[in-house]
Amino acid sequence: MNNLLEVQGLSVSLPQSGVAGARSVLSNVSFAVSRGAVLGIVGGSGSGKTTLGLALLGLLPSVMVLAGGQVIFDGRELTKLSPEEWRALRGAGISMAFQEPMSAFDPVMTIGAQIQETVLAHEKISSAAARERALEALRLSGLADPVRIAAAYAFELSGGLRQRAMIAQALACRPALLIADEPTSSLDVNTQEKILELFQELRRSLGLSIIIITHDLGVVRRTADEVVVLCRGVVVEQGKVAQMMSAPRADYTRLLLEAEG
């Protein structure tokens, strides 16, 4: 089995949370993502799904600590990386697309400049070449007029275009794994559909592995192969999507399915 990412027994805790002492945010989470596969991580608010995404990038908030577990990406143990190795990995190996691209883009820089900057942070190429790469990334995420988008500021674009631009920035350095944190939550239904199609297309054309973090089971059903259901930092169910849909094992999953209707 050739897994791109293997997470084993990952635990994250809040060491100083008042009188109760250490509190667990994620406990003993294990899953694997194979190359070219899409994994859905589902959970309600506060279930720890965003923390999980950040832990995979080594960017836990300063109040949290990694309490244990292993993250193996492409044969490397990530929890032992130096800050400089982490920096090189982020963006080029594992990348993240955010829920709210409006606030994830710096409002005082053009989209193109930000993508260019990402490329230059990882590769020693001229800024003209980096600009070419930025335009190529924008084209790759299905933007018909990359030159115009590159010259725009985030607030000048519609939600759908912004999300595509965000994905373009995440993919500019050709990472093997994309973590998409609630990629469609702020979009209307039609645009949601198109972004999900884009994910499928990227997966086919680039062999990209994707982790989709969402609270929306519909998103998981349409895109993911496997699913991990998180509830209060604990994995309550994991397995094939189809199996979860037809015969959920955990009560929590059943609850989510019912809520979706």
């Binding site: 963006g91 710096d106 409002p107 990402t118 350095c173």
Partner: protein, 339 residues
């Protein structure tokens, strides 16, 4: 942005201040052309000569511009009294290559002369080169230092923040003027005028950066929590890149106004140092060292025109303050605007 510049230019005071500074800086830049004399052009027999007007009417007849000659007499206390000699006329010459001057041996003193008979107007124009640039260069240095230190302290927080902020507080704790004197005392006294100029700039900016750093640090503490900072981290940007490109640009609206408002401090600092003889040395002119001549009340009484440099210090300081205030009003989104 366009709206902001529009708002700025609507402020009549700011516009006037901008023009006034423009004229002063243009004068400093073109000093070799605008000033009637060089800053070290002496005429010892015309010590403390009062201001002379350029005349066009002599004996009831219109003529090309000229100045009258002067005769030196003494009063009963042996003080110099200059009497206008209406029989001697010196023609004003234009583009000689200076803009205007007077045929020798006559001299034109629009704002009077100093102790060695040097033209005060010319020395003010040449002095502007020192007094008006020291603020700009000083502010550039302390601005860069303040932004970087404030950015680093605010971004990292914790121990780094603690150390850097305590350092700032130590600098801010010492009374500025005495710190200035102490630092000046540490500079070798055999420096030439260019070296003195730069040591003053550096001393002034070493004192000036701490205040800016503290405010910038406060802004960065909140800016670092923004999503785009986290996003930049996930794309593998280094900390310094994030600070310089994604955090500090967001403090610009504050820091531009702060910079404008801090320039007067540099102008006054240089003046103070030069006034007490620790700054720019004679024969080189700065507004501060010209004023050191005016430290005696007797001299001010008999030659009040030696106070002219103070007027120019006053005007430029007020101008920078007015512009800084206007910029702050325009850039601060919290201020209510009546449109």
């Amino acid at each position: 942005m366009k709206k902001m510049t529009g708002l700025f230019f609507k402020n009549k005071w700011a516009l006037a201040a901008l023009w006034a500074l423009g004229v002063l800086y243009a004068g400093a830049l073109l000093a070799d052309f605008v000033a009637p004399y060089s800053f070290k052009d002496e005429a010892r027999d015309l010590s403390y000569c009062p201001p002379t007007a350029i005349q066009v009417v002599h004996d009831g007849k219109l003529r090309s511009p000229f100045v009258y000659g002067r005769k030196l007499t003494f009063n009963e206390y042996r003080q110099r009294i200059y009497v206008t000699d209406q029989t001697v006329l010196y023609a004003v010459k234009f583009f000689t290559p200076r803009l205007f001057t007077v045929e020798a041996p006559g001299r034109v003193y629009l704002l009077g002369a100093d102790s060695r008979g040097r033209d005060i107007l010319s020395r003010i124009i040449y002095g502007a080169r020192v007094s008006l640039t020291i603020g700009l260069i000083g502010v550039l240095i302390s601005f860069a230092l303040g932004l970087l230190v404030g950015g680093i302290a605010g971004y990292y927080g914790g121990r780094v923040d603690n150390v850097l902020m305590r350092l700032c507080e130590v600098l801010m704790m010492a009374p500025g003027f005495y710190l200035l004197l102490a630092l000046r005392a540490a500079v070798p006294d055999n420096f030439n005028s260019v070296q003195v100029y730069f040591s003053i700039v550096i001393i002034l900016s070493v004192i000036g950066w701490a205040g800016l750093a503290r405010v910038v640090r406060g802004m960065c503490l909140s800016l670092r929590e923004r999503d785009y900072v986290l996003a930049a981290k996930t794309f593998g940007l280094s900390d310094l890149q994030i600070i310089v490109r994604h955090i500090l640009p967001h403090t610009v609206s504050y820091s531009i106004a702060a910079v404008m408002l801090s320039i007067p401090g540099y102008i006054l600092g240089e003046s103070a140092l030069s006034l007490i003889g620790l700054g720019i040395q004679d024969p080189y002119a700065s507004w501060g060292n010209m004023l050191s001549d005016a430290m005696s009340i007797v001299r001010i009484k008999f030659a009040p025109w030696i106070l002219w440099p103070a007027f120019f210090i006053f005007v430029s300081v007020v101008c920078f303050n007015v512009i800084g205030d206007a910029l702050r009003d325009v850039l601060d989104p919290m201020i209510k605007r009546d449109t």
